[in-house]
């Protein structure tokens, strides 16, 4: 009895202590800047008058920034491009991650460790460096992969070229997640399946894939969120080609507004809109995952 009370008392405050640093960091680096951005989004910069403005002051702008942002054709074409890019990157990332994980999990696969590392390695390379390296591979004058015959920055091809960089950067991480889930499956399952005469392909299709589905769904959520935040790849490829504009995807527009045109207020409004959209997407996806998990449990 005494034992249980001490444990209860000991764990009483301890979990809160454990999460405290995370909460503090979250408050300092996510909530506070977010709140500041919300505040900025209702303001606007005005010059004081005279030819060169004579300095500036900020005024309350109400919803004017939001009205401008939502009515901005540039932003909407950026959103469409982001969706088109997501249509390339999300399925490709998840499918390749699942494929590689399943292949690595096969009994007969050789050189597992080195292959796993090779697939994971691009994730360790910063996105900017990866984009620069791919840029060299795409440009006709420097391309060893046929850039002089294929226009990697063509009207449609550019989505695949940008997506390619993003996919290689994300596949490794997602593969590890799915692979770990695969390794956690009990070996007896496969043994009995084999005894029942199931082929390797049948085991994959009927047992492995359904059982790691929660991991796959989680990877999809991660990838969708990454797709909403796409920035590094197109922004780094921009100086290399005429195909990528400064407002190519929403985050590039935010960056350009904030640091190019020094209109931090429009940028804040766009950020708030984008955050709301991202929250909505994660909420819907999370609900989907939940219902899927409940189905599995039932």
């Amino acid at each position: 009895m005494a034992r249980t009370t001490t444990t209860a008392r000991r764990t009483g405050g301890f979990p809160y202590l454990l999460v405290l640093p995370a909460v503090l960091l979250f408050a300092a680096f996510v909530v506070a800047p977010g709140g500041y951005a919300l505040l900025l989004s209702f303001q606007r910069r005005k010059v004081n008058g005279g030819l060169l403005g004579g300095g500036t002051h900020t005024v309350f702008a109400g919803l004017a920034n939001y009205r401008d942002v939502l009515g901005d054709a540039d932003l909407w074409s950026g959103v469409l491009r982001m969706l088109a890019l997501g249509a390339v990157t999300v399925p490709a990332t998840v499918v390749f991650a699942l494929l590689f994980a399943v292949l690595l999990d096969l009994e007969r696969t050789r050189l597992k460790r080195i292959t796993r590392l090779t697939i994971f390695l691009p994730y360790a390379v910063p996105g900017v460096i990866a984009s620069l390296m791919w840029g060299f591979l795409y440009l006709p004058a420097t391309s060893p992969i046929g850039g002089d015959r294929v226009d990697f920055f063509g009207q449609v091809a550019v989505y695949f070229s940008v997506g390619n960089v993003a996919v290689w950067g994300a596949v490794g991480f997602n593969m590890i997640v799915i692979y770990t889930a695969l390794r956690a499956l009990p070996a007896e399952l496969f043994e009995s399946a084999r005894l029942d005469g199931a082929s390797e392909w049948q085991i994959i299709r009927r047992i492995k894939v359904p059982m790691v589905l929660p991991a796959v769904v989680m990877c999809t959520l991660f990838t969708v969120l990454a797709a909403l935040q796409v920035f590094n790849e197109p922004n780094t490829l921009k100086p290399l080609s005429n195909a990528v504009s400064s407002t190519w995807v929403p985050l590039m527009k935010i960056y350009d507004d904030a640091f190019g045109n020094s209109d931090i207020y429009s940028a804040a409004a766009t950020s708030v809109v984008l955050t709301a959209a991202a929250l909505a997407v994660s909420f819907v996806t999370a609900r989907l995952i939940q219902s899927r998990v409940q189905q599995e449990a039932a």
Binding site: L25, L139, L240, N242
Partner: protein
Amino acid sequence: MSVIPRRRRGVAAVALLAAGLLATTAACGGGSSDRKSDASATGASKGKVTLTFWDWDPNIDKVVAKWNAGHPDIQVKLSNPAGGDQLVAKMITAHEAKNGPDVAKVEYQSLPALVSKGVVADITGYTKDTVTKYDAATLKSTVFQGKVYGVPQDVAPLMLFYRTDLFAKYGLSVPKTWDEFAAEARTVRSKAPASYLTNFDAADPGWFTGLAQQAGANWWSTSGDSWKVDIADAPTKKVAGYWQGLVGDGSIAKNPSFSPQWNKQMNDGTLLSWISGAWAPAQLGGIAPATKGKWAVAPLPAWTAGDPATGIWGGSATTVTTDSEHPAQAAEFASWLNTDDAAVTEQVKQINVYPAATSGRSLPVLQAAPAFFPNQPDFYAEVKKVAPAARSFPMWGPDVTVTFTGYTDGFSKALQSGGSFAGALDSMQSATVADMKKLGFTVG
């Protein structure tokens, strides 16, 4: 078994996070105490001042070292956070955070924007003697409504840089007019199908602006407190139409400059010429190292034969920011950097500037060729011949970055999908005017 490691992991995580927190607070504290100690040190030891200086010129540290050696009481600490437009963005951000540098290099076109945002200080009081060392045309870039906002560093007339060896090989003469330039662009394509006379650069607005200036464009002009914006004016449309023709029939390349692709083309002779500012020799060494001694400079082709007019691409001033606690010393350094003979000589040697100060233009160092142009000892003589006829806009707008982004996006799109250059100019005009009105400028 499994409980203990998990708990240990928890503790480790807490420790890590705590360490992270400590590190961030320490970093913040370090930053602010640094500034404070700077200020108190200057207060305590009377007159000993440390200035921070933002500049992106390669080798500028050697010029700064000269100053530091001669001025123990005013030490200049150099840093290079970014170049060109990015430095402007950083200056604005730093100003918002009240920790901008004391002195910064600013390209002429960004100066009105920085003045209007209150980033750059009025140094009229400190530069009474300095301004006498410049001619009126040069001062127009840094003096607005009678107030001095920067000490001009260099002027950069737009010129034609060409490969002497390849021009000889294909039997080309240096084009005197744009008509000749167009004809030669086509000749190059027929004689060497893999090569181009030059490329149309949609990525850097500076050179196109210079071409428009040559043709007589006045994108911004002012009367009293009111602005007139005329980006799609007749001279600019003429320039745009000319280049659209050359791009349209494939006479010139259309990939952006300063990309790995372009560097290679400049290096391997795919591109035979470069329309650039007088600062080009300093850049070419990095862009096309294999072509040393193969380039020469000539005046920009003219619209009508014999017209000496040209535009400018770049050119900078040394400015003092409103954040500086030592504006007098900062202005003193800016003046020295750009008007002192020894300082200017060093700048010509190290960074190939063509000096903005009148006295600087007759320095003996300008008798020698830039290091990358050993074959052309009269390089600066050529520049000196063109410089007086280089015209800029009467005034740069207060939101040039919007205009420049409009150029990059509009012309890139036109090149990519075959759209019209004139349409790109129209959208630059409307975006610029809309932004100025939004900020509250009077646009007539």
